[in-house]
Structures are given as structure tokens and as C-alpha cells.
């Protein structure tokens, strides 16, 4: 009996590695600490009412962002572990299989559990405010999206301490990811963590398309809408068409592993290349999904901090919609070398080159916006300016890679790694940081310390170039990706060492950011006007943080940058609202179902991971019951009485009796 338990425990928990043991202990202690603190301060009720069951897009946005910052930490630690291992030839810090697990989780976490939630967080915080709406189209679904992400990410994250991490790369190519070559449960965690989280992403895509198309304030025609909201629409169009492909592909891999199917196996007529074909049909649009909202952020920030209208509004819109459509026609460039032949490669090389053009148009438009503007170098603007050279270089190396014959040299080398990190960090990360700094006061009602922000900025930027520029040369020098060590004779040592130093500079930058947040919370420099940056768009016309119903009176919009125009005509921030304008406000009620349903998905996923149908099937039935309960509930909204609106507004705008 004791022996069976021991045997089970040794397979259930990951053993044999001091780092992982340390993590297991820390997780255990942290969990106990959290439960203790919540109980001691009697905060369970508050947590349930204000956060776990909220359908308020602003709260949901904050939760997404908190999760993404935690994931940035984990993904960053993965990166530094790898850089330590590669700093010199023949280092024996990480064994090969541990290294494989780390680069796998680094990739999955950074793209799917850091970039995506940070993006969804910004969607949630900003879009309803920017378009003058009181919430998104489907607040309940919005909450469900967040909790599906949360529990999917949890499931994935738990794998390195329970059962074992996936280690077949962030895209899990078969046959390596098949049962034949990955018999453990790690790949199952990969499949279910991403699958559950992906359902949430798809739902968000639908939610924001309808929100943007149907809930804009009166007078806000599409071509007068702020550019960030356009970028969200553009990104969501890609989401709704790309994510179903991911859902199917992961499901097919699951069937191979779980039901003995032969989609991508080496035997039985299976074809691993079909997986690669399908996964990149999702994978390529995915990178545009994350970068287009960053473009939207830059448009907002550059215009605001140049005190100038965005140059070329129409061409910006067409460029983004063009990117959305064209992104579905370039996917083969991720596997030029894998045997599709000259005709196929030529076609996709051309489409890949074409897609660089709309982005180029946007870069010129940002530059023309800054030209003859009155520029303020606050941190959001600094991130935006830094993005331009970084992303342009990264984009150019992308065009180099798009030349199919040349790609036979670059593919899967460090040249490729340098390229995609440059566009992802220079484009996506810099952009989301700019957005986070820009909209932070609106979210929390206080500003972030500029001084510490600048330290973080410089360490990130210098660290980035020091880390990744050498990697282009390592790639040209023949160093391939995903190797856990290399020989002294290869001559790759010096550049790797430089690269590692750069990595740690970025780590230092992250510490500055955490310090900046902690310091700013303590200082609590209040945002008293709702408009710290002298902004141009509607979100700056309401108090910070925004009242739970956003707008006491639905705004009527006349032109692009309407708030800016209203200010030019003399309107002041937080001007009092006459009582006669107030009416009861229709709002959605909180709901426990998204949290419970997603938790059940977690249980089902966990059951499927271990092949425990006794766990998975009841949990899935539970999911179905949750859906039926929701279907039968008709009491889902309420009205906020005028008195409460009056009180909330007085408090937010400074109660002067």
C-alpha cells in the first residue's frame, strides 16, 4: 500500500532536480500563505464579490495584466536559465532534457500566457472607454474568457512540478510530440493548457468585434474611431479565423495520443507535415494578432505626445485591415526548408514580402506624425520611439528570411531567433509597455514614477540589443537553435557570453519595473483630472479610475479625437454633469458561473492529461450543467439608480457640496 503510494507519487510529482524541488516547496508555501492571509483579513467575501465573479471589463483587464506580469517573470527566468547554460561552451548547469523543457515553456508562456493576456488586458481596459460604451457586448462571456485563460495557464504551469513539463518545443511538432517519442504526460499538459486557454481567446475575439461594430457612442462613425480600437478590431478579425485552426490541430494531436489515431504519426498512414502545415496556418496570423494592437498603441501615444493629429488615418486603417487578411496567406515561410518545392515556396515568399509593405506605410505615418510636432518624452513616448528602429531592423531581417533560397541558410539558426525576438520584443513588448504606462493612471487612479520608468527603459533597450544583435552573427556563423551546449572549437563562445550579459540587463530592467510599480503604489501620486497626458480620445474625459458604469452620460461624438476637440473649444476635464442629464444605467450582474465552469475545465483537462476518465467525464458534465444553468437564468441585469450615479460622480469628480 505504502509502496503503491510512493510509486504513484514519484511519477505524479517531478523528482530528481533541486531547482524543481525548490519550486515545488515555494509553490506549496505560497499557496498556504495566500490562504492564510485571505482568512486572517477576512477577505474571501471581497475576493469573491469584487474579483472572482465580476463581469466588469475594467476589473477583468486588471486581472489579465496581473497574470501576464507574473508570466513575464516565469518566462524571463526561463530565458535567463537558458542564457546561463549557453554563456560558455560546455556548461553543465542544465541537462539536455531540462533545457528542452525550459525553451518549450519559455516560448509557450511568453506568447500565449504573457503577450496574449497582456493584450486582452489592454483591450478590456481601453476599448469600451475609447468608444464611449459602458461595457463590452457580452460581459458574462468576457469573464468566461478570462477564467478560461487563467485555468488553462494554471494547467500548463503546473506541469513542471506535477507530471513533467512538455519538452517538444513551443509548437510541439510530431512525431516528437507523439506518444511514440513523448510517452510522458508533459505533452498532454501542453495540449490541454493551450486548448482551454484558446477557447477564451476565441470568445474574446467575437466579443470585441461586436463591441466595436455595435456599441460605439452616437456619432462615432468607424472612420472617426480611435486607432487603437481599429487595431483591436483588426486583431480580433484574425483571432476568429485563426483560433479554430489551432483548436482542431491540438485536438487531432490529442486524438493521436489518447485514442491511437493516425493523423500525424509515423505509422498508420499518418503525416506529420500536415500538423506543421496546420499549426502554422494558425501560428502566422497569431504573431500579427499580437503585433497589430501594439501598432494601435503607438498611434495613440505618438499622436498624444506629439500634440498632433495622427498622420494618414485612412491609410493606417487600410494597412491594418490589409495585414489582417494577408496574414492568412504567408504561413509556409515558416517551413520553406521542409520539402514543399519551388512553386509553393515562391508563392509564399512573395506574399511574405508583400505583407511588409503595409507595416512600412504605418512606420512612415508615425514619423510624419512626429514631424513638426511638439514632442514630450514621457515614458510611453520613449517606448514608442525606441520601437521604431528596433522593429524596422527586425522587420528587415524578416524580409531577408522571406527569400526562400536564403532561408535554407537561416532556418532554425540563431539568425531566426534574433529576428523573431526583435520583432516580438521591439514590436509587441515595447508596444504593450508603452500602453501599460500610458493607460496605467486611467486604470488605477495614480501615476507611475517617471524616473524609475526611465531606468527600466534604458536597461531594457540596451539589454535587448546586447542580447540579440550578437545572435544574428551567431546564426550566420552556423549556430543552430535549441542546442543545449556547444563545443569550444565552434568559436561561438564570445558572442554567447555577450548575449547572456544582455539577457541579464533585461532581467535587471524587469526588477526596475517591479520596483517602479511598488514605489508608485506607495507614493500614490493621485490622478485628479482623469487626463494626465492631455489626451485626445474619450477615455481621458472621465475620472480615473473610471466609475464602474464608465460614462454617467453617454457621450455624443462629432469628430476624430473628439475629446481633444472639445478641450480646444473650452471644455475642462471632469466638468460637473447637470443632474437633469442623468438617467438610470443598465448594467449586467456579477456571475459565479465563469469561474466555476473554468475550474471544471481545469479538472477535466487534468483528468485528460493523466488519462483519468473518472475525473474528466464528470467534470465535462459539470461544464455542460453550468451552460444549462446559464441558459435558464433570466435575471442577469439590473439598473443603477440615478442617486447612486450622482453620488459616484460627485466622489470621482471631487465632492464639492
Amino acid at each position: 500500500m505504502l509502496d503503491t503510494i510512493k510509486q504513484f507519487a514519484s511519477e505524479f510529482f517531478v523528482t530528481g532536480d533541486p531547482l524543481i524541488l525548490g519550486a515545488q516547496v515555494s509553490i506549496g508555501l505560497a499557496s498556504v500563505a495566500i490562504v492564510f492571509v485571505l482568512t486572517f483579513f477576512k477577505k474571501w467575501g471581497w475576493l469573491w464579490r469584487e474579483w472572482l465573479t465580476t463581469v466588469d471589463h475594467k476589473r477583468i483587464g486588471i486581472m489579465y495584466i496581473i497574470c501576464s506580469i507574473l508570466m513575464l517573470f516565469r518566462g524571463g527566468v526561463d530565458a535567463l536559465l537558458m542564457r546561463l547554460q549557453l554563456a560558455m561552451p560546455g556548461v553543465e548547469f542544465l541537462q539536455a532534457d531540462h533545457y528542452n523543457a525550459i525553451f518549450t515553456t519559455h516560448g509557450v508562456i511568453m506568447i500565449l500566457f504573457m503577450a496574449m493576456p497582456l493584450m486582452f488586458g489592454l483591450f478590456n481596459i481601453v476599448v469600451p472607454l475609447q468608444i464611449g460604451a459602458r461595457d463590452v457586448a457580452y460581459p458574462f462571456l468576457n469573464s468566461l474568457s478570462f477564467w478560461m485563460f487563467f485555468f488553462g495557464a494554471m494547467l500548463f504551469n503546473v506541469s513542471f512540478v506535477i507530471g513533467g513539463s512538455p519538452d517538444a518545443g513551443w509548437l510541439a511538432y510530431p512525431p516528437l510530440s507523439e506518444l511514440s517519442h513523448s510517452p510522458g504526460v508533459g505533452q498532454n499538459f501542453y495540449i490541454w493548457g493551450i486548448q482551454i486557454s484558446g477557447i477564451g481567446s476565441l470568445a474574446t475575439g467575437i466579443n470585441f468585434i461586436v463591441t466595436i461594430l455595435k456599441m460605439r457612442a452616437p456619432g462615432m462613425k468607424l472612420m472617426k474611431m480611435p486607432m487603437f480600437s481599429w487595431s483591436v478590431l483588426s486583431s480580433c478579425i484574425m483571432i476568429i479565423f485563426a483560433f479554430p485552426i489551432l483548436t482542431v490541430t491540438l485536438f487531432l494531436l490529442f486524438l493521436d495520443r489518447f485514442a491511437g489515431a493516425h493523423f500525424f504519426t509515423l505509422d498508420g498512414g499518418g503525416n506529420p507535415m500536415m500538423y506543421i502545415n496546420l499549426i502554422w496556418m494558425w501560428g502566422h496570423p497569431e504573431v500579427y494578432i499580437v503585433v497589430v494592437p501594439a501598432f494601435g498603441i503607438f498611434s495613440e501615444v505618438v499622436a498624444t505626445f506629439s500634440r498632433k493629429k495622427l498622420f494618414g488615418y485612412k491609410s493606417m486603417v487600410f494597412a491594418m485591415i490589409g495585414i489582417s487578411v494577408l496574414s492568412f496567406f504567408t504561413w509556409v515561410h515558416h517551413f520553406f526548408t521542409m520539402g514543399s518545392g519551388a512553386d509553393v515556396n515562391a508563392f509564399f515568399a512573395i506574399t511574405t514580402m508583400l505583407i511588409a509593405i503595409p507595416t512600412g506605410v504605418k512606420v512612415f505615418n508615425w514619423l510624419f506624425t512626429m514631424f513638426r510636432g511638439r514632442i514630450r518624452f514621457s515614458t510611453p513616448m520613449m517606448w514608442s520611439i525606441a520601437f521604431i528602429p528596433c522593429f524596422v531592423i527586425g522587420g528587415m531581417t524578416g524580409v531577408l528570411l522571406s527569400v526562400a533560397p536564403a532561408d535554407f541558410q537561416f532556418h532554425n539558426s540563431y539568425f531566426l531567433i534574433a529576428h523573431f525576438h526583435q520583432v516580438l520584443i521591439g514590436g509587441v513588448v515595447f508596444g504593450y509597455f508603452a500602453g501599460l504606462y500610458y493607460w496605467w493612471p486611467k486604470m488605477f487612479g495614480f501615476t507611475l514614477n517617471e524616473h524609475l520608468g526611465k531606468w527600466a527603459f534604458w536597461f531594457w533597450n540596451i539589454g535587448f540589443y546586447v542580447c540579440f544583435m550578437p545572435q544574428y552573427f551567431l546564426g550566420l556563423d552556423g549556430m543552430t537553435r535549441r542546442t543545449y551546449t556547444y563545443d569550444f572549437d565552434m568559436g561561438w563562445g564570445p558572442l554567447n557570453l555577450v548575449s547572456t550579459i544582455g539577457g541579464f540587463l533585461m532581467g535587471l530592467a524587469f526588477i526596475f519595473q517591479v520596483w517602479q510599480i511598488a514605489y508608485s503604489i506607495k507614493k500614490h501620486k493621485k490622478d485628479t483630472t482623469g487626463d494626465v497626458w492631455d489626451g485626445r480620445t474619450l477615455e481621458w474625459s472621465i475620472p480615473s479610475p473610471a466609475p464602474f458604469y464608465n460614462f454617467a452620460v453617454s457621450p455624443t461624438v462629432e469628430e476624430t479625437d473628439d475629446w481633444w476637440e472639445r478641450k480646444q473649444k473650452g471644455e475642462k476635464p471632469l466638468a460637473p454633469i447637470p443632474d437633469s442629464a442623468l438617467t438610470p444605467i443598465h448594467m449586467p450582474k456579477n456571475s459565479a458561473i465563469p469561474f466555476i465552469k473554468s475550474a471544471l475545465w481545469f479538472v477535466a483537462g487534468f483528468g485528460f492529461v493523466w488519462g483519468w476518465l473518472w475525473m474528466a467525464i464528470p467534470a465535462m458534465i459539470g461544464v455542460g450543467i453550468c451552460m444549462l444553468v446559464r441558459s435558464f437564468s433570466y435575471d442577469t441585469d439590473y439598473y443603477v439608480p440615478v442617486d447612486e450615479v450622482k453620488r459616484t460622480e460627485l466622489l470621482a469628480r471631487g465632492a464639492k457640496a
Binding site: 461594430l213 478579425i237 479565423f241 485552426i245 498512414g269 499518418g270 503525416n271 507535415m273 500536415m274 502545415n277 496546420l278 496556418m281 487578411v325 492568412f328 496567406f329 509556409v332 521542409m338 520539402g339 514543399s340 518545392g341 509553393v344
Partner: protein, 110 residues
Amino acid sequence: MAKTHEASSHEQHGSHGSMKSYTIGFVLSIILTIIPIVIVMNSMLSKTATLVVILAMAVLQFAVQLIFFMHLKEGENARWNMMALLLGLIILLTIVAGSIWIMTYNAVAH
């Protein structure tokens, strides 16, 4: 048949259609189903011709159902619905045709 209206239903919006249009749609669909089945079960045409005909009939029946059953052209969101569908079909075609083309060069032993 007495017409009864709920007190709260104001404008007639959303799905329109009548018994007549649904019946036309139904009959057309039956015809467009029978033709391909008969052609295939009786091997009436060459392989290529059969393929073209049955696919064409399927696409036609799809259009019939879109118009007569799903009222694609009506409702207040008709334009957005059509645009979403059009884009979806373009991408669907890309997925199917693209996969067939690419995988021709990546086939495995059966």
C-alpha cells in the same frame, strides 16, 4: 389560422420568410441532394465530371439554404453578416486548397 401577437413585440425584424419561401428552399434542397446521389450511385458520368457536378450541387444547395433558410440578405446586420461570411469563405478556401496544394509535395507512403 388566427393571428395572435404578443403585447411586447413591436417591429417585425430578425428572421423574415414565409411558408412559401421555406417550402421552395426545401424542395430545391431535395432536388439538389437527389441529383448528385443518383449520378454517383449509377456512375453516370466520368470521374472528373462527377466531381464537378456534385461539388457544384453542394455549393448551390449551400446558397439556397443561406438565402431561403438563414435569410442572409435580411435583418439589421445583413451587411456585416455577409462580409463576415465572405471573409470566412475566402479563408476556408485558402485552408482547404492551400493544404491540398502544399501536401501534394509532402505526401507519405499510405
